[in-house]
């Protein structure tokens, strides 16, 4: 490791950063180092592809649930009532 930080990451170091990498939470320099490792390490690249797919599928499959129309109506009514009572 140089004074400016590591120039390469080991598999273990990449593994420890995998979730943050998938979540776009790494610094620019760490991002570059992880990307560089994934380009040359088939095992880590396989784990990364797998985890990314799982997370993106979970996110996309969780249905966006619409609020019941009555909630919207009740809420607007309560907000108006409250303004009336306090105004």
């Amino acid at each position: 490791m140089s004074a400016l930080g590591p120039t390469r990451l080991t598999c273990e170091e990449v593994f420890g950063r995998l979730d943050d990498f998938i979540d776009h939470e790494l610094s620019v320099e760490e991002l570059r180092l992880v990307e560089e490792h994934l380009r040359t390490c088939a095992a880590c690249a396989s784990e990364h592809r797998f985890e990314s797919r799982v997370i993106s599928d979970i996110r996309s499959k969780l249905s966006r649930i619409a609020a019941p129309p009555s909630l919207r109506e009740d809420l607007l009514k309560r907000l108006a009532e409250e303004r009336g009572s306090l105004g």
Binding site: F50, E51, I65
Partner: protein, 231 residues
């Protein structure tokens, strides 16, 4: 500070909601958005979030009636604290902070610790290891897709709902609201490192739950018995 919320409580104004606002930190004052322009501004910001607020509340409370109550409580509280909202800042994060605080102070207290779950450490890459151990990596170049394509949203939602409270809240804000670690930290008023550890551990618990559900539904057996290329 993204949320621009200071430390006074809303105890007086919120009494009839049955929430202890000593715990609902961060919202200043008790003045509702009562001028016509303030109210219009508040409602214009709030209403586009209603579906996502309800969806989040549903995962937090695990109950449609409670979810509606939670959203209404949070919306009224936010109205009363709207004077403290800094125009142009992240209204969504500001509102979800009030929503999650309301959940923690009212619903979690009422329901205790929620669903009990074994919190023994789940290994990293749980699904990856399980799919490898059952031979699915030899059947497909995309073993994650083999399993995930068989899991529907309802099953995944149920698995998230079964997470312990702290993990479920973070997972809901992450998976459903697409909040960043920093935004979740500000919503929950915890360090980013806490968000990171809860989210990472929550994911592992979630992967174990999904694999178990795949087992229980016969999906694993179906996939492992399928011929290569048929899976």
């Amino acid at each position: 500070m993204l949320l621009h919320l200071a430390g006074t409580d809303l105890a007086t104004a919120s009494g009839h909601l049955g929430i202890s606002f000593a715990l609902l930190v961060g919202v200043v004052g008790t003045q509702p958005a009562k001028s016509r322009s303030d109210a219009g501004s508040y409602e214009a910001l709030l209403m586009p979030l209603l579906d996502s607020a309800y969806g989040t509340a549903l995962h937090l409370t695990r109950n449609p009636a409670d979810a509606e109550d939670l959203v209404q409580d949070a919306a009224l509280l936010a109205s009363r604290g709207f004077a403290t909202y800094e125009q142009g800042s992240n209204f969504k994060a500001w509102f979800f902070r009030i929503l999650t605080n309301a959940f923690y102070s009212k619903y979690r207290k009422r329901k205790g610790e929620g669903v009990r779950m074994e919190l023994q450490d789940t290994p990293e890459l749980y699904l990856y290891c399980q799919t490898a151990a059952t031979g699915l990596h030899a059947k497909s170049e995309n073993p994650a897709a083999l399993v995930m394509d068989k899991l529907d949203g309802e099953l995944i939602g149920t698995a998230i709902d079964a997470l312990p409270d702290d993990y479920r809240v973070v997972a809901t804000l992450y998976f459903i609201q697409d909040f960043s670690y920093q935004e979740i930290a500000e919503v929950l008023e915890v360090p980013v490192g806490t968000v990171r550890s809860r989210l990472h551990r929550g994911r592992r618990i979630l992967q174990r739950a999904l694999w178990q559900a795949a087992h229980d539904r016969g999906i694993v057996a179906e996939l492992t018995q399928a011929r290569g290329g048929d899976a």
